[in-house]
Symmetry: C2
Subunit: 300 residues, 2 copies
């Protein structure tokens, strides 16, 4: 049996981490955008061997357990103990990992949905497993629930699937421009001094967005958040200012990656591409993903 | 400005009503299916008149306030008090009203999403308004949150949007066969003696489904629920038994309408259609709607 799951990439605009009593009560409030590109997970289940084997591969390359702790942990928990056979989990990412596109959660949730489809469970029961291993292993705090919600999302109450509450904004036909320049180590940022500032500014941004809920306001608040926390500074801030000159809404920083994103019209996208090409800076574009993650039998 | 919203029809398989302290805490637990056919709502907003006017039409025919209390109430609450202009809300239903397809909630939620898109708000803020007027006016208890969730849904915690928790089942490519025979008056059923039995059997069915979560089990539990509560009896029960002879999963009763539904393969659908045509019984078929409701600018 071959199963395919798709989970959108998720870019966080602003956030505040929330530590609860257990992983399911832990997460983040904030806002972000789900993209039409993301993580595709192919799950192959074959019986007929004498032992229970689970294999994970990233972009076609097998990875060891210590390099894919979250995905292996999710799989170990969902594949029944007494199952004998080969379970292969092939994860393909449209964006580079560590750059703030929610690849870790995309792989975890896609794996959970694919294995849930194969071995049983419900969406929430397997998504909770993905969320828990994300939290415990220092992946994302809010990506799984955000990806389940789709669209341009606002996490109004922190927590895992069934506990956290995710709202959505109405929006016009925006395209999402992304400028992925490099990775940031989420864990190090969240363990540093900046965390106090993130907590204060993240909550302030959320309150501001709920007073005036629109994607345009979200981008303005995201930019304020990024600058006030000091996360967006130096050359990246200069690049954001360059970009702003050709856009009607402010660009902001991908949380957490060394990169920028912006909501743009088709026309603005053209202008921004020209600018970024002139500056010799990498970029990509995607649509806003309005649906739920997908999972189903793969027939080629 | 012309806006279109689509909300899937929703058929409840089994349920137990839950009365909370306020409408947002009130709802139902249970399970059901969202269909690829449903309610389309076109919202037209024109400024330039001196007064604030709101008009609602069902299937092209203008309806008076007293005949569309829920939709008018939703619109009155979302359209700003100081707005001057014409707001027209055109609701089109793929299934007849009162037959258990969630038309009332579809119209309320579609109106809320369309007006939220035009006048501002978030998905949850306007969906809560739809839910509240549904509950207060004796429409559905769980349709709005079920329609927001999509797919084959399980309401595990009762309540309105952001309070209730809705899970989803994994499923293969089922088609949904529906046999709509006539209306049932939800309010009268829920006020009658059968309500005690519905509460007991509904909770039992939910527990059973969460122990073994699959669409096939849901249909078996729905049928037990329908028969044990006595809602499915007489000629309708006989018709269900006829249908079962050509299907692999049991058919069950649409809650609440005088009608049946079943999850079928393409091949079974063909056999069932032949049988129903022979019996001169009306039927329709749809896909399972896997997405979220849609809303956006309508450009023809």
């Amino acid at each position: 049996m071959l199963i395919r799951a798709f989970v959108p990439a998720h870019v966080t605009a602003f956030f505040a981490p929330v530590k609860g009593e257990d992983p399911l009560q832990t997460g983040s409030v904030g806002a972000g955008v789900n993209l039409s590109k993301g993580t595709s997970v192919f799950v192959s289940v074959e019986t007929g061997t004498l032992e229970r084997h689970i294999h994970v591969a990233f972009n076609g390359e097998p990875v060891k357990r210590e390099d894919a702790v979250i995905s292996y942990s999710v799989a170990e928990e969902i594949v029944p103990r007494d199952f004998t056979g080969e379970v292969e989990i092939w994860q393909y990412f449209d964006f580079p990992s560590g750059y703030g596109f929610g690849n870790s959660a995309g792989g975890a949730l896609g794996t959970a949905l694919g294995l849930g489809y194969a071995f049983g469970g419900t969406w929430l029961s397997v998504a909770r497993i993905a969320h828990r291993h994300e939290v415990v292993n220092g992946g994302g705090l809010g990506d799984v629930v955000a990806q389940l919600a789709g669209g341009i999302e606002v996490r109004v109450k922190a927590g895992g699937p069934g506990v956290g509450v995710v709202d959505n904004l109405f929006f016009e036909d925006y395209r999402v421009l992304v400028v992925p320049l490099g990775p940031l180590h989420t864990k190090e940022v969240l363990d540093g001094d900046v965390i106090k500032s993130i907590e204060v500014e993240g909550r302030k941004a959320l309150e501001g967005l709920l007073r005036e809920p629109s994607p345009e306001r979200m981008m303005a608040l995201a930019r304020e958040f990024a600058e006030r926390t000091g996360l967006l500074s130096g050359e990246l801030l200069e690049l954001a200012r360059e970009l702003d000159r050709v856009l009607s809404n402010p660009s902001s920083m991908i949380m957490l990656g060394k990169g920028l994103f912006a909501l743009v019209s088709e026309e603005e996208l053209g202008r921004a591409k020209n600018l970024l090409a002139d500056l010799d800076v990498p970029y990509d574009a995607a649509g806003v993903y309005r649906e739920r993650p997908k999972v189903g039998r793969w027939v080629g």
